[in-house]
Symmetry: C2
DNA sequence: ATAGTAAAAAATCTCGAGAAAACCATTGAC
DNA sequence: GTCAATGGTTTTCTCGAGATTTTTTACTAT
């Protein structure tokens, strides 16, 4: 079916279905950290969390180790684990690095993408648009689905890039920026402009205008940075 | 002394001294994988390795998990761990991505670096040059020291970059390329040219000629790719 | 012979208890 | 009053044994 099946997965532990308890705990923890259930800088005590996530101590330890990979958790020598802190500087760094990688990957993708890629772009954009419509009812589930499809959309855009490493790093950075975007959503919900920007990227991509697509993508990503900049400083502790 | 001490370490588990058994095992394993003791694609059975590295099963598991972070080991669902395979395509990807990141970081560094940075560049270049001289006796220890100092040199060059993420990703890619460079050394030892190239980078960096420095660095990194390309195919299994 | 099934073997994954280290509050000395 | 040392408490780290899952081997029927 899919001849990429036995290609080594660079992202390691992001398979479609959690096959092990440690991975299941890892996913729950990851979501909770991104969602802000565990606040930035918070200490993550294994003894407390193992009950909360219903796994053994060693297993939870493994889950935490996996989160270190994504830089959502920091491990300090003999002093346990801690939710990675956030800061405006950090988000600026994340955003700029992401722009660098994602634009290069996007231009590659536009040059190399075939018909199937085009179809995937159109399809994932459609899925995202539908999710946007459901956003108006403001439920948590609808927002979560939007996040999922937004991520899928951005992934598909660069999926025709030949560089597995670019995609790998982009994955990590996207995950990071999700934490910050969640903060900006407190202030202002996802706006109409976002849809227009996505549309513009799709148009440029299908027209094989890689320069223009990269330009729009850059603006698009930087817009979130501006939104976070306007937040009260105490929110970005 | 160093006010960067409490900045969260992005690389997570690359502190100067291993404070835990798991980390010690991680380092030994990492060296063994890079050195080729454990061949690419080889299965890493916990039961066998725990005796070899003198730690418990759970501890070795953690060490393996850390190696997944560096993409030197791949974990597959419920089927254990395996040394990440190598391929020419992969090395090409690694090299090109590394060039992209490292040149950007280097240009930033050259623009922002202060006197201390300049001093560090000169110092690490000197250390590297001394190690090159000792290379003639061809011992394993001298080559290992050269690797260490070469890495330190490249790290110092981009150390003035403000982007922690660029440096983080560069670290990972450098580690990866070390595996491949080791292969190329079978054929031809480290040549005179390398020294001249390093010298040229230092000169351009101190002259604050960021464009030129980036150009030389690019050529420098691509040269190793060419060397690996000339290897017999069966060496890059 | 081949294919499918089932039991046996090996390896992984999971857990809880013990050892080692870090943390905190109290005490004592200067 | 400030600082250093000490002991108790908490937390992390480590280990080995049991439960699941995967892989291998052997067997039977077509």
């Amino acid at each position: 079916m899919n001849d990429l099946a036995n290609v080594p997965d660079l992202s390691g532990h992001q398979a479609d279905e959690p096959k092990t308890l440690a991975e299941a705990a890892y996913r729950q923890l990851r979501r909770d950290i991104i969602e802000g259930v565990h606040r930035p800088g918070e200490k993550l005590r294994v003894e407390h969390l193992k009950d909360q996530y219903a796994v053994g101590a060693g297993t939870l330890r493994e889950a935490l180790q996996l989160l270190v990979t994504d830089a959502l958790v920091v491990a300090q020598g003999q002093r346990g684990f801690r939710v990675a802190p956030i800061s405006l500087d950090d988000f600026e760094d994340i955003t700029r690095t992401r722009v660098l990688l994602e634009t290069v990957a996007l231009q590659q993708s536009i040059e190399l993408g075939d018909d199937t890629w085009e179809a995937n772009v159109v399809a994932s954009f459609h899925m995202l648009s539908r999710a946007e419509e459901k956003l108006v009812d403001g439920t948590n589930a609808s927002r979560e689905e939007w996040e999922l499809r937004n991520r899928a959309f951005h992934e598909v855009l660069i999926s025709a890039s030949t560089s597995r490493w670019l995609r790998h790093f982009q994955n990590i950075l996207y995950l990071q920026s999700e934490r910050y975007r969640r903060l900006s959503l407190f202030r202002q919900p996802i706006s109409r402009d976002v849809h227009a920007e996505h549309q513009a990227i799709v148009d440029a991509a299908l027209a094989r205008n890689s320069k223009e697509a990269a330009r729009i993508l850059t603006e698009h990503v930087l817009r979130t940075l501006e939104a976070v900049r306007k937040l009260p400083a105490e929110m970005i502790s």
